[in-house]
Symmetry: C2
Subunit: 235 residues, 2 copies
């Protein structure tokens, strides 16, 4: 493999357990207001609106806006679908920020620390900069910079998102490796010329619902970031 | 003072001793090739091309390009002016990267660490993302994100550079404080609605050549980042 000079990371699902975290946050926040909620079903429904919302931007029908704004649009749809249209504005705002309070999978914080001894690290996520910064603070990560959708002003899997992340670090596409738990993300990164590493997250969408192996060719596969660190020669 | 939620930093001169570092790097690099150089004069001459080069972008005469590219254009001018037009391409490339190897003033690394216990921190510099990331690695800084010219795709003192940095952290302009050693930078930040803190760097351009006090109204003044940390209630 040619020398890798930069590691780029998908975040939702790959580094953080969005499903478990959103299920917990939504159930707790609405529960405190006397609303009994199936948090897991709510998390899945909210995330189901993710790709359609970004497609409005990718297609050019909507100008670029932060993922926080798309999450809020999606939240309003899901609350209506759950018969919760009466939930007030302050609660909606607070609930939308649950995406800034996601917990990392257990291997991620030690894995990133090991990887950073050898490589510059940046998220290449569809999440906005403040969302990425808040997740890093919460989970104790040290990014060299925050790349991704807000820098590119478009959403993955559009090539510009991967290419602008590599370019921000003065890297050619083949010098950057995209690390993700989703074959579709890695296929798009590879098509843009990047190296790829698949991380298995078999419980991403809830117990037993997640990709266990890449369905596309990748340069590396691992079950955890700590394993990836070992494979890339980081102590 | 209304609550400050974000600290933004000028970098060249405010956090790093560009003059001393460039003087040292240029004299060493060209010296190793048998060229005797007045490093301090060379550093000053190189920096003298900084504002005119950015003005080409700010005015719209040139499309946005990274500061690394402007530094390289300026280097070619200064080498010619110093009668060093024969310096080869590899040396020029290496010399241009001297801007990625600048040393912090002694108070900066401990000061930023204290400030980060209470505030998110980001550079709001005209330097590009990779340059900011390299300076952070070299000097042991932990930015929450890298804002500034490359994110805004324009150069300070244009308002968009300050405003896009605050917006990336979901802050209103008045919730962000710009920290800089230059009155002109702080005047522009204040005009964009930001709070301002002046840091005295009396030796920025060489011994005794630097601003010792702000020549414009500012919210705070300090002689070091460690003093600023105390003034902002950081232990």
């Amino acid at each position: 493999m040619p020398e890798v000079k930069l590691l780029l990371f998908d975040v939702f699902g790959t580094l953080v357990d969005w499903h478990g975290s959103i299920a917990r946050e939504a159930a707790a926040l609405l529960g405190a207001r006397g609303i009994a909620l199936d948090g897991a079903a709510f998390a899945t429904a909210w995330r189901d609106q993710y790709q359609p919302a970004m497609e409005e931007v990718r297609s050019g029908r909507l100008p670029f806006c932060k993922l926080d704004a798309l999450h809020r649009r999606n939240l309003d749809i899901v609350l209506r679908d759950f018969g919760l249209d009466y939930v007030d504005e302050a609660t909606r705002r607070e609930l939308n920020l649950a995406w800034h309070r996601l917990d990392a999978w257990p291997d991620v914080t030690p894995g990133l620390a090991r990887l950073r001894t050898k490589f510059p690290l940046a998220p290449c996520s569809n999440g906005n900069i403040s969302l990425m910064a808040d997740l890093a603070r919460r989970n104790g990560w040290h990014w060299d910079a925050i790349a991704g959708a807000e820098l590119a002003r478009d959403y993955k899997p559009k090539p510009i998102v991967y290419l602008s992340a590599a370019a921000a670090f003065d890297c050619a596409p083949h010098e950057a490796m995209m690390v993700a738990a989703h074959s579709s993300d890695l296929a798009a990164a590879a098509a843009a010329g990047l190296r790829t590493a698949f991380i298995a997250r078999p419980d991403e969408h809830g117990p037993g619902i997640g990709e266990t192996a890449a369905s596309v060719p990748v340069d590396l596969s691992a079950d955890a970031l700590t394993e990836l660190a070992g494979r890339l020669g980081c102590r």
